[in-house]
């Protein structure tokens, strides 16, 4: 039973991070019908930015501000930088290709992804960076927390889950209750019609990228608070975020959240309970996904694609 709770908590934590990444994918896909391969690398840049800001604020051992403020500042800084990066990528790598065949922005995205990860490696080297907040205040983030049925859920995981949830609620609010959100939804239904209705498509797309990339930045900090980061995590993180978005139904925001959680739980339980699961978890998860896509390619909550001729 104890193990089960542990796996569930693990799954929830993993799933929250995946959900945040998946949201970025879904937002962009909904509006542009583009799979942004560079998203995983934006996430990776977010982890590094967070590390840099953490060092500036005194590092894990001698922070100049209380821990709450520290984590908040680091997250906000990361979100700001990744949002900016997302905007620049959109402006220069995707906007010129808005009317090109669908394959063009995909390949451009591959190029951007490659460019980002190798640039980071060039500039910052391949040494893993550890936020290293373990010792802070006697390990308060890691050792204190809620006690559920004999298992301690560390404060850090609770922060991750709650923060992810809060961000998703804010996102939901922005998309459903504001005018720009409405414009976003309109653009994702039919870009040309939205343009004809007077919506400034460029601004909407920029807004979408800001949102998506900022979420990736936040996900980056959440991720890096617990495990060391390095320049190569972008590809795998992006792939997992992908899976989450697609499982939930790409283009659907609740779908991305659900997909992220499903993926997190699936990974955690497969690794925990399936024999040899730790080795083959990737295989099982991917195969499961492929089957899901074949039989229900719009995912769990997505809309089936209707193509008009």
């Amino acid at each position: 039973m104890q193990n089960f709770i542990q796996y569930t908590v693990d799954g929830l934590t993993l799933g929250s991070v995946y959900a945040l990444i998946a949201l970025g994918y879904t937002l962009v896909y909904g509006v542009l019908k583009l799979l942004n391969f560079a998203h995983g690398d934006v996430f990776m840049v977010g982890t590094f930015v967070g590390y840099g800001v953490l060092q500036e604020l005194g590092g894990p051992m001698n922070p100049k501000v209380p821990i709450w403020l520290l984590i908040t500042l680091v997250t906000l800084a990361s979100m700001a930088v990744t949002a900016g990066l997302g905007v620049v990528i959109e402006r220069f790598a995707y906007r010129p290709l808005r009317d090109a065949p669908r394959i063009a922005p995909l390949i451009s995205a591959l190029g951007v992804s490659f460019f980002l990860s190798n640039s980071m490696q060039l500039l910052f080297g391949a040494t893993p960076r550890n936020y290293d907040l373990f010792e802070y205040h006697g390990g308060s983030l890691y050792l204190r927390g809620l006690h559920i049925a004999g298992v301690t859920v560390p404060l850090l995981r609770i922060i991750t889950i709650v923060a992810a949830f809060v961000l998703m609620v804010i996102l939901w609010f922005l998309v459903n209750k504001t005018r720009t959100g409405k414009a976003m939804r309109a653009t994702s239904y039919d870009r040309e019609a939205a343009a004809m209705m007077g919506i400034d498509i460029d601004r909407v797309i920029v807004f979408t990228f800001i949102l998506g990339s900022a979420l990736a930045g936040a996900a980056g900090v959440m991720f890096a608070l617990r495990v060391p980061t390095n320049v190569s995590i972008g590809f795998i993180a992006g792939l997992k975020g992908f899976i989450a978005a697609v499982v939930g139904g790409i283009g659907s925001i609740p779908g991305a959240m659900l997909g992220g959680l499903v993926l997190g739980f699936a990974e955690s339980y497969v690794q925990g309970y399936v024999p040899n699961g730790t080795q083959w978890s990737d295989l099982y998860v991917f195969s499961g996904l492929v089957l899901l896509m074949i039989f229900r390619h719009q995912g769990l909550l997505g809309r089936p694609d209707i193509r008009k001729v």
Partner: protein, 395 residues
Amino acid sequence: MKKAIGLALAILATAIVAASAQGAPKASAVATAKGYNCSKTITLPFVTPITGGAGFLGAEQLSWAKYAVKTIAPQLHLKVKLVGGDTPVEQGPAPAQTLAQKYVGTASVLAVLGPSTSGAVAASTKTYYAAHIAHISPSATRTDLTKSVGGTLEGTPAFFRDVPGDYIQGPSDANFMINSLHVKKVVILDFQEPYSLGLAGAVDSVLKAHGVSTIRLSAPNTTTDYSAYVTKVPSDADIVFFPTQKPGDAQTFAQQLIEQGKKAHVFGGDGSNDSSQFKQPGSYVSNFAPDITGIPADAKLIAGWKKANPGKSVGSFGPPSYGAAQIVMTAIARACHAGHGHATRTAVLHSIKKVSIKNWILGGSFKWSTKSNDPLNAKFYIFQIQSDGSYKLVG
């Protein structure tokens, strides 16, 4: 636009031709019977991961090899140029093959340092052997590179290493666990790449032979979050043997063990040896070299290195690289002397085995084992991490 294409193509073609023509080594001079003229600059390539996930390893090794070349080459009246050959671990052993071909074709290469990773050695050693180029690795510890395992020997007579192999590290770690730590249950976690698989297997077999119950886990190379693995560690396990090449991951694992309230300590191999990243008190690390800052004979050397590399700390992978460079240059000097100012690759290859060093950087003196291309009487050292993060020798 078509003229533009034509122009572009023409320029590109010219550029490629120009670039490849300039400085292309005339390899037909490789196998002259007389040998390479020792008064000319000798190229010493160092095949190591300079970029990529294990880039810290290559950077450290290169800095020590550079220092060795700077200080020792003039003493031996040799002009040596050190070049780095990059084999990022993310690309597997394949880049090592291309690099091997490149160095085989370069006449000024008489011997090679590295490859540093066991996989790269397996991929390129046959090429080097066929070309009679000696290659000394300061960190490829896989057993079957010098000792036949289950009938297969992956190494060749041209491969040497100046650190002991996993066939020493594995049993030494396992015996330490059995005799000093009195373990009853050990979890062994490998990383699905050659280094950790070999070491994990070696430790597993020794532990099992002594009746210790072992649990084998395997993590993909790209794992960063070990929560699920930590959960699988039984609460009564004593040690988690985790031969990773990323010290940061060892640290994370140790922290997550504490997080989940498990009493097991992490035991890392030589790949986890980095006091700036892996510093969880109570954990263990094994290494093929003692901390050389504790060896008085090395004080001057360390001071000199520190001056050339300000702000860097002495790691554990660097000193064996210094030693390997020292051995290679000594062998080349010997071959040059015997060949009256000219040295062939074969001569260098033969003279390597005859090299012995008195004030070996890792302590004591260095001699080759007569049975294999490994150092004689090499041992592994086991450290425990103290509460201040320092490594204390315990075995």
